[in-house]
């Protein structure tokens, strides 16, 4: 396990890609970028266990696969459990001298539906048992694969095909599940939030996640032009705005206790208003078109600000 992480552009170009071109992810989808950035952090033999989701479906359209490293598709709710099995079996094989590699990194990937909702029990079990797995969620804010249904990661005010906006409803009315906080509460060695716009921060954090002993968790924001009704060329801009508005702040949590704000979030003097993040997205259009939802929009802004202040406090940032 000696391979360096590729952080500089020059090194990134030289590092072997783990996902080939020609996959069928939608134009402008951030998920393949996220996977490629993950690949820049790898340190040696790696296995990926992936839950059902957009990334799984669209990178493996019959009869092809875009994956260049060992990859197993599991059911929707159990990527963490399968990864736990893989890790423990490797351990035994290694002890018995029946396995050539000194170490194999095991990564589990799920979308927000597979992580916040249906796979949550399995994830929590893996964290509690302490398997040496890196779990990464690419969070595009809804069940985009089945046609944009709300999930536990859907933001308040977001319109989906099961949280309609109209005269009586402003879209999803509930708050987003604070997944990184919940995972950190398991007191695992490492939790980090990342944005594909901040590639250096992303790769360094993913490498840390691989290096710690025991479970690590990476929460990546993943803009989705199809579901968000945004321009395909705006995904990286939205990934940046998610950080600047405090909707997806970047930070790390060590052992569930020590919070550390990451550079891009630390440098924010004042949060960018959420309007700047919402307006380029058709899924929030009703919040600006219908004056009756102005109060709800203000409520969302208040929630974001409150979360931001609390996070700053935890991180010891003024």
């Amino acid at each position: 396990m000696t391979e360096e992480a590729a952080v500089r552009i020059k090194d990134m170009l030289e590092k072997d890609e783990i996902l080939s071109s020609g996959h069928r992810m939608c134009a402008g989808c951030a998920a393949p970028t996220i996977v490629k950035l993950m690949g820049m952090a790898l340190r040696g033999p790696t296995v990926v266990c992936e839950a059902t989701g957009c990334l799984e479906v669209a990178t493996t359209i019959y009869p092809y696969t875009a994956w260049k490293i060992p990859w197993i598709h599991v059911a929707f709710e159990n990527a963490s459990a399968v990864a736990s099995g893989v890790v423990e079996a490797y351990k035994v094989m290694h002890q018995k001298g029946r396995f050539e590699h000194e170490h194999v990194d095991v990564i589990a990937i799920g979308g927000d539906g597979g992580t916040f909702d249906i796979g949550f029990g399995s994830l929590s079990g893996m964290l509690e048992r302490g398997h040496d797995v890196v779990y990464m969620v690419y969070d595009n804010g809804a069940y985009q694969n089945t046609g944009i249904q709300r999930s536990g990661a859907t933001l308040p005010g977001q319109e989906t095909t099961t949280s309609w906006a109209g005269k009586v409803s402003p879209g999803k009315e509930q708050r987003k599940k604070p997944i990184a906080e919940i995972v950190a509460a398991h007191k695992i060695p490492y939790v980090a939030t990342v944005s594909p716009y901040h590639r250096r921060d992303f790769i360094q954090k993913f490498r840390k996640a691989l290096e710690v002993e025991g479970p690590a968790f990476i929460h990546a924001i993943s803009p989705c032009p199809r579901g968000w009704r945004s321009e395909t060329g705006k995904s990286m801009e939205l990934a940046k705005l998610a950080v600047e508005t405090g909707i997806h702040p970047l930070y790390e949590v060590f052992d569930g206790e020590e919070y550390k704000m990451s550079g891009p979030s630390k440098r924010i003097k004042e949060l960018t208003p959420i309007e700047d993040y919402m307006k380029p997205q058709g899924q929030f259009r009703h919040l600006f078109k219908d004056p009756q939802w102005e109060g709800f929009r203000e409520q969302i802004q208040t929630w974001i600000k409150e979360d931001w202040e609390l996070l700053k406090k935890k991180c010891g940032v003024e």
């Binding site: 598709h73 249906i118 949550f120 089945t146 536990g152 095909t161 099961t162 949280s163 309609w164």
Partner: protein, 379 residues
């Protein structure tokens, strides 16, 4: 509401059928190819004074439906094979607690993730045998957009009448096909609601069945009657028991309330069967191909007919057995490797049964079934 005509897909016809039947609670979770039902319900339910709630997985969806049903609300969920696999434990719970609910399975290719966007009929045996222990189930198999509506209404009626979970088992082709749908005037719809207890609350036994239909009247959660239900084997009071005779009595009654009322439950269509030498037994999308094949065979002078199953569980054993004595051959085209085929074989033996198995998305085409009819006719 007066009669309404729509041009729509099977999934939406199913949702409309549920609304017409008086469904007021939908616990959902997205899954291809059933998601349109949830989407439609999430939009319509509030307009009908009902609730749509999306859960974190299928286990939560169906168990929420069990809870909702106990309040006296007609309740349902809709999913596909992988979702049903997760719901199996709860189906047993609903059977044991005699909870009326409707479970729609828009069947896709399996096992596992299989082919989410391609239809199949691979979940027929799962519906019957999926949960552990001995039990009977009701499963309806619509073959058109209109039947998606009609049989969803029927599913609610049967679930209320017999206090049992009822499956609507439609293959993906039926779920996603678009056809004309006539929604009848609501006063022309025959709707059934569960029996309520009439005895004095001090005498109410929640699991004491009426002798005629073997179904106990069902008190509502929060009414004046004491409510008690458990997945454990229970006596007429609903209290758990480890006694052998209680277990035998309960499991036998749960079976009998379906099997002894089978004539009332079973629905089927007989097409050109009267003088037939060769019968095709089919359901869902392949039955549409079969009908065309039979018309073509008749034009050629071959005496073929169709028995179209609109109910697969309870299986119309007596009807199939009689048919076995009337025809020389039976053909069973199914979009699986043979499931209803085994039921036909055990009912109609020793009449030769010919399986046309196709575990894939494209159903048996009319000319393929016609070729099989010709081949058998020439024997």
């Amino acid at each position: 509401m007066p009669e309404k005509v729509m041009f729509t897909m099977g999934d939406i016809a199913c949702a409309e059928g549920a609304l017409a039947a008086g469904c007021k609670y939908f616990g959902g979770y997205p899954i291809t190819p059933a998601t349109e039902i949830a989407e439609w319900m999430s939009q319509k339910m509030p307009q009908y004074g009902g609730a749509y709630v999306q859960y974190e997985d299928e286990i939560a969806s169906i168990t929420s439906v069990i809870g909702a049903s106990w309040t006296g609300t007609k309740s349902m969920t809709a999913t596909s094979g992988p979702g049903v696999s997760l719901m199996l434990e709860a189906i047993g719970l609903a059977v044991m607690t005699e909870t009326p609910l409707v479970l729609v399975n828009i069947m896709r290719g399996g096992p596992s993730t299989g082919q989410p966007t391609r239809g199949q009929q691979g979940d027929i045996m799962q519906a019957k045998w999926g949960s552990h222990g001995d039990y009977q189930i009701i499963a309806l198999t619509p073959a058109s957009v209109q039947e998606m509506f009609d049989q969803t209404v029927q599913a609610f009626n049967l679930s209320e009448k017999y206090r049992t979970p009822v499956f609507v088992l439609a293959d993906e082709t039926v779920g996603h096909m678009r056809e004309k749908l006539v929604i009848p005037d609501e006063k022309d719809l025959k709707l059934v609601s569960r029996k309520q207890p009439t005895v004095d609350p001090s005498e109410y036994l929640p699991f004491k069945a009426d002798e005629d239909d073997l179904v106990p009247p069902m008190a509502l959660l929060g009414s004046k009657y004491q409510f008690y239900a458990t997945g454990l084997t229970h006596d007429e009071r609903g209290y758990p028991s480890d006694k052998e005779h209680i277990q035998i009595k309960l499991v036998t009654r749960l079976q009998d309330k379906i099997l002894k009322n089978a004539d009332d439950i079973i629905d089927l269509e007989k097409f050109m069967l009267d003088d037939a030498d060769i019968a095709v037994i089919a359901y869902g999308t392949p039955s549409r191909s079969a009908k065309k094949a039979i018309k073509d065979a008749r034009a050629e002078g071959i005496k073929a007919g169709l028995l179209r199953l609109k109910t697969v569980w309870p299986f119309p054993e007596d009807i199939v057995a009689d048919l076995g004595t009337e025809v020389k051959h039976i053909i069973v085209p199914e979009q699986n490797l043979g499931q209803v085929y085994h039921m036909v074989r055990s009912a109609a033996a020793p009449t030769p049964i010919h399986l046309m198995a196709k575990p894939a998305g494209m159903p048996q085409l009319p000319h393929e079934i016609l070729a099989k009819i010709r081949e058998i006719d020439s024997i």
